[in-house]
Structures are given as structure tokens and as C-alpha cells.
């Protein structure tokens, strides 16, 4: 049941410290070769002063900020077993840097239902804002999750 009363619900802010080895493992998993993603020395003397993460890396640490959303999944009656990532959008001010600590605030942007080919689909749109230790925005994420009822 699409519980539209949950729209606007915010989850407690969480922090994530970006681990360099985790960034490098993610870059390697994508077959990246740029030294800014992989080489400490090259990255330190590069334009960002640190290892930076490939653009989709935030997905690897955003799960923490959405842990608070898990109870909302229950309230929304979402079928966790059939939850599918429908869409993902990132807006960036700059790349995420290894070693920095980000503050992540997630909120429910939208909840609705849609008629699908094999029944009703429940749609949940989650937005996350990430800011750095100076309070400056680093990136924003909008994630659409789809659940078959």
C-alpha cells in the first residue's frame, strides 16, 4: 500500500569516513586504471590531493545512511525479496576523496504505486545529501526502488 504520509520523512544523519583501500577495490572491480583512483603518491600530488573515488562509488557506503530507512520499508509494506533498483541519479560538486568524512542525510522523496505488467508495483524514491567536514555539499543521490507487491 503506497503510504504517502511517509513522504518527507528524514532519517538521522550518519557519517561515513571514506576508506582508501575500499575506494581502490571498487575502482579495480570496475577495471579502472587511472592512478588518481589507485596510486597514493600520484593522487596526493594530483589535483585533488588524495585518492578520489569513481563517480558511482557512493553506492558502496550509502547503505549505512539508509539503514534507518529499513523500518520504513516495513511500514511501506515493501517486499524486500523483490526490491529492485529502478533508477539512480547522482549530482556532484566534486569527486569523493579517500580519507574524508562525509555526513549523509537521507529522506523519502516520494512513495507511489504503479500498474505493472505482472501486478502492482510500489515505488520508493530516496534522496541522500552528502556534505563534507566543512559543511559543504559533495554530492546528492536520488534512488528509485521498485517492489512487486
Amino acid at each position: 500500500m503506497a503510504n504517502r504520509a511517509l513522504i518527507g520523512r528524514e532519517f538521522p544523519a550518519v557519517t561515513a569516513t571514506i576508506d582508501p583501500e575500499s575506494v581502490k577495490a571498487f575502482a579495480r572491480a570496475l577495471g579502472e586504471t587511472d592512478p588518481l583512483y589507485l596510486d597514493d603518491a600520484a593522487a596526493a600530488s594530483g589535483p585533488f590531493g588524495a585518492i578520489v573515488a569513481p563517480p558511482t562509488y557512493p553506492i558502496a557506503f550509502m547503505a549505512q545512511s539508509m539503514a534507518g530507512a529499513a523500518s520504513s520499508f516495513d511500514e511501506l509494506g515493501l517486499n524486500f525479496m523483490t526490491l529492485v533498483h529502478g533508477e539512480q541519479e547522482f549530482e556532484y560538486e566534486r569527486p569523493v576523496k579517500a580519507g574524508e568524512t562525509l555526513t549523509l542525510t537521507a529522506r523519502i522523496h516520494d512513495v507511489y504505486e504503479k500498474e505493472g505488467r505482472s501486478g502492482i508495483l510500489d515505488i520508493l524514491v530516496l534522496e541522500t545529501e552528502a556534505s563534507d567536514q566543512n559543511g559543504k555539499r559533495v554530492f546528492a543521490s536520488r534512488q528509485t526502488l521498485v517492489s512487486r507487491r
Binding site: 529492485v84 539512480q88 547522482f90 569527486p95
Partner: protein, 137 residues
Amino acid sequence: MLQFDELKEGDALPVHQRGPITKAEIAEYSRASGDPNPMHVDEEFAKASGYPGVFAQGMLSMGYLGQYVTGLAGIGNVKLLQSRFAKITWPDELITCRAKVTGKRVAGGEKLVDLELTTESQTGEVKIVGKATVRAA
């Protein structure tokens, strides 16, 4: 970096190809992205759930699109990256990433290029439809 003055609406940029996608690659990506979903690594689980076998997460292909767009524009010049996950990407598929210029503009003192993105398999099945906005020179 993309050269603002050399681009016009409708231009197709050089493509980026990945694959054949392997189960090992999908598993490595699952570990690196902290994805616990067994559909991507547990063959029996995927079959019991009605699929022919394990499959790649949409985010793996979005990672390829991120790689593609960053390769075109340069690290630090991607302002927006968006993907809609239309079809599943399977092991053994070859993935071609394509970008087409949908517009260019100057905003906030920056030269920006808007791109429409797709990933498709060797049969032409479109897996992801997306867009990006990058800073150009």
C-alpha cells in the same frame, strides 16, 4: 576533456566497450560495492528465484557509464550522472556504452554539455538509459 566549441546537438561520441561480462567480475563488484544480494553471486539462489542464473547489478553497468563519461570529460568534470535500469545484464554479454550530445550551455560561468547515455548488449538490447552533464573546455 570535451571541447565545448567542437560539439553540437546530436553528435555521437566515441563508444566505450566492456565485456564479455564474467561471473567473477560480477562477484568482485558485489564485494567491492558491499552488495549482499545473492542474485548476483549464488547460482542456485538465482535459479530458485526464477532466473536462468546469476546476473549483474544495474549499478555495475552504471559504473561502466561513469567510467565512460569520466573518460570523455576528465575526473572532476562530471556534474550529473543518471541511469534507469531497463533490462538485466547477463554474464557473457558484451556491453557498449554510447553517448549523444543533447545540448550545450553556459551556466554559472561553466561550459556544460548534456549527454544522453545508453548501454546495450551485442544484440542491441538496451540495458540502461541515462544522462549526464559534464564540464567542458
